[in-house]
Symmetry: D3
Subunit: 62 residues, 6 copies
């Protein structure tokens, strides 16, 4: 551990995931003293129509 | 918050997700006093073969 | 399945959980044709200081 | 319950999922006295590029 | 990875968690060829009143 | 969305959670263009004995 799960609607590029994983892993090392090698990060990219806010599905198209 | 994650085997139509999201968001507002705008609902639709009950995968086909 | 996970900051009374579980299970039966006996609902009640929106922890007190 | 969520990068064959589901369900019955019929197991197979260890995405290819 | 999340209502003894963790880690190595050192297992023990099956909370007492 | 779930064994101080939430929310805005107000972050702090790596529970004490 830590295990971090990032869930978004839509997609992220490989480059974005790389940058986000790097920064979060750095944050957890610097702030919470978790050795980098222990941090797992899993991204879930959901279709817009699988995410609702305020009772309404995101996007009317995909 | 709240964050609600609904996980099923198989798929739901857009219409079904819409209806479910609406009703759950209503329930959380009415019963738990959570303003609708705060409720996130994320649907995960898994292949049948990725779900086991009683040690047996669902469906022998997809 | 379905498996539904409801995560909130703060607590719900037993009565509220009961009502919410009942309504969501009804919704999934009526809209998604999932037999009631298959629906699992798990509530997670997190301390306010374990939930952040917009980069700010909820509540300055617990 | 129990609800077990297994998340991996890459894929598992149907045969592997079957075997894993069977063994985990057995373990939970034998060790934790959970009747088999109550155990749900959900597998999530993520693309390698959606999983980071130590701040680095797994695999440079998929 | 893998990351395995086991969610139950009620509690497990330390001895039970130990045994379950060992067996699941073995299974994932033997069946899915995941090196033991990569497998994370997280147990969540929920109060009975936070788990509903068929729209009814488990246990009327805790 | 996004919804971020950070799971660790042990505890974090309020100050650590605050700092981590702030930095991750910043990262997701800067890198993934997600407006800060949409980002939810939920921390789960598990007892050491509820987390296993390589088939062994963390800590022999709590």
């Amino acid at each position: 551990m830590p295990y971090v799960n990032i869930r978004i609607a839509g997609t992220l590029s490989r480059e974005q995931k790389k940058q986000i994983a790097q920064e979060i892993t750095d944050t957890l090392e610097r702030v919470a003293h978790k050795p980098k090698s222990y941090t797992y990060i899993a991204f879930d990219e959901l279709p817009h129509e699988s995410w609702a806010i305020a009772g309404t599905l995101l996007g009317d198209e995909d």
